[in-house]
Amino acid sequence: MPAELIRILIGLVAVALSVGLIGLVMVWVERKVAGHVQRRPGPYEVGPYGLLQPLADALKLVGKQLFMPDNADPILFWLAPVLSFLPVLLLFLPLPLGDELFALDINLGLLLILAFSGLAVLSLLLGGWASNNKYGLLGAARAVAQSVAYEIPLLLSVLAVCFVAGSLNLATVVKEQGTWPWNWNIMTQPLAFLIYIVSALGETNRAPFDLPEAESELTAGFHTEYSGMGFGLFFLAEYANMVVVCSVATVLFLGGWHGPVLPGPVWFVLKVSLLMLLLVFFRWTYPRVRFDQLLNINWKWLMPLAVANLMLTAFFVKLAQYTVVK
């Protein structure tokens, strides 16, 4: 038992450090990719290739005065950014980076991730509500409606994979898959993968589904009134969430640490990075969808498709069982 506990503690510290690092690197990647897509260099002054730019920005954010608007609810206002960041740390624990490289080997790994990622929306709601700002309120309302809606197809698509693997343990799911791309779940579950990616965009409030913070409509949505580290934590949590979402996609659909030649963790990081790059490209390519369209996509397309996919999967899994038994 103590060995398990120590493992978790080490894992937590490692995660806390790496989340910070990943956040900084992702900010740099996002800005650099955006720059190159728009045919400008992106950050390039601070450090080689502007690598230290996010660090400089982070230092600036840390150094800023913590400012709260009049009539805002002080407790909730400051609780919100912290609450948005903390659950993210937990999300990393059950993720298997390699064959033996994970902090928490738990049967319900997937469930843990889904449960804690559901907490994120609470922080957005609190932040938007507590800041006594109409834009914030609208942004918070959008965030809740969007998260609640997109959680369902997300769950359903993930569930389909779990049916195939027969386990909620992420390590088991990975082990079920093989080395080569045609051994990965994406081949058996392409629809689930698509649904997962789209819902993930909705869950993490990434463009083109970044409605809670749609700046042309709501200035900055739920974090309109946040500055300094309050904003910084929201920002960091957003990127950390992105990493989690991409990691889960890698584990479930892209064969996790499997891959030829290179060691497992490298493959894992590579796959996650590629997915992240895809999300970044989405953001810098597409216009934002409208709110009613966003929900329409969910309820009219993703939900029925996800349910149908799940039923089919269940059917085939059962069929396979029978044939195997006989």
Binding site: Q38, N71, A141, T219, W284, R290
Partner: protein, 388 residues
């Protein structure tokens, strides 16, 4: 929290209070602007919202009001020209032309033919620049960040070209009473000739990246429908009325300068919605390039400023004149009355954006917030022009 109209007793300025008087219970009064990312400057729109739906909207103007019409009273006609570049930074040459044209009309000054061609070329280039600026900014309103950079890449080329004869990049004061300040140099003409095929080659990319994009189509199709009758009641002109199926273009309706000699189409769209206005502007870019090409072919040699152009002590002849040109946003009209003094007795600037924006309150009713932003953008507003 003073979020609701019924509890809103004190907060709010003159306009909010004036607006809130008839507000219904439980609705949300929201100030979009004067500092807001989608209002392109300092436009302020007070909206009464029921959730995401807009019940009522009222633009509040005047944050950039500079009283150009008063300045026209205290300056001589020639001295007022620099002001015209500042009215609309998007299509500054259109305003240059409207004012200069009105004074020329009143004074009966004939402009050399080459100057007319130079005017057409530069103001059409300026129109393309203005449409590109609109295109980028509109996509920004709709949440796409990259198109504005591509648009500015192309617009930059136009600014470089226009910098050669005018010396400025945005607020041109290039036209003079009786001609233009400087002839187009050989270099300048060459870069215009180079620019047109380049711009043509860019348009398919615009189409691929944006115009055909399903998200964009869903965002702008069917929103902000403006009926022709509304265009008449509000005096909406330019791409707004052409997007509603009215083929009205001042260059064709009341031709001025050398436009009768030029072959170009006036694009219209029967969609009447934001998509219609979008399409019209995209086609106008092509048509402007056609006009420029023809002008380069036809342009004669000669002076660009009439002999005996007005000196500083010039007295504006008595009379009145209304001169309208087709700006990037619609009909730019300048009305001048002179009593024979150095300064013009009364100058009235008719800004197309002003009339187009006055439609907004009616059109945005009952739409959701995101659509209202999309409609606002589709009207192509330049706030300094509206506030004057």
């Amino acid at each position: 929290m003073t979020l609701y109209a019924d509890t809103q007793q004190v907060a709010g300025d003159f306009y909010t209070n004036n607006f809130a008087k008839t507000a219904r219970e439980g609705s949300l009064i929201l100030n979009l602007g004067p500092q807001h990312p989608s209002t392109h400057g300092v436009l302020r729109v007070i909206v009464e919202m029921d959730g995401e739906y807009i019940l009522r909207a009222e633009p509040v103007l005047g944050y950039l009001h500079r009283m150009h019409e008063k300045m026209a009273e205290v300056k001589t006609a020639a001295q007022f020209i620099p002001n015209m570049g500042r009215v609309d930074y998007g299509h500054a040459l259109g305003w240059n032309w409207a004012f200069v044209g009105a004074v020329e009309k009143m004074a009966g000054i004939e402009v050399p033919e080459r100057a007319e061609y130079v005017r057409v070329i530069t103001s059409e280039l300026n129109r393309i620049a203005s449409h590109l600026l609109w295109w980028g900014a509109y996509l920004l309103d709709l949440g796409a960040f990259t198109p504005i950079m591509y648009a500015f890449d192309d617009r930059e080329k136009i600014l470089d070209i226009l910098q050669m004869p005018t010396g400025s990049r945005l607020t041109y004061s290039y036209f003079r009473i009786g001609g233009v300040a400087q002839d187009l140099s050989e270099d300048c003409i060459k870069s215009i000739r180079d620019f047109i095929p380049w711009m043509r080659s860019r348009l398919p990319m615009y189409k691929d990246l944006v115009s055909d994009n399903i998200i964009l189509r869903k965002r702008i199709e069917g929103i902000g429908v403006i009926e022709p009758a509304q265009c008449r009641a509000y005096g909406a002109t330019g791409p707004v009325c052409r997007g509603s199926g009215i083929g009205y273009d001042v260059r064709r309706a009341t031709p001025y300068s050398v436009f009768p000699k030029l072959d170009f189409e006036v694009p219209t769209s029967d969609l009447k919605d934001a998509r219609g206005r979008y399409d019209v502007r995209m086609i106008e870019i092509e048509q402007s390039m056609r006009i420029i090409e023809q002008c380069l072919e036809q342009m004669p040699e000669g002076d660009v400023l009439v002999k005996g152009a007005p000196k500083p002590s010039w007295k504006v002849p008595k009379g009145e004149a209304y001169f309208a040109v087709e700006g990037a946003r619609g009909k730019i009209g300048v009305y001048v009355v002179s009593d024979g003094g150095k300064n013009i007795y009364r100058t009235k600037l008719r800004a197309p954006g002003f009339c187009n924006l006055s439609l907004f309150a009616e059109v945005s009713q009952g739409t959701i917030l995101a659509d209202a932003v999309a409609i606002l953008g589709s009207l192509d507003l330049i706030i300094p022009e509206i506030d004057r």
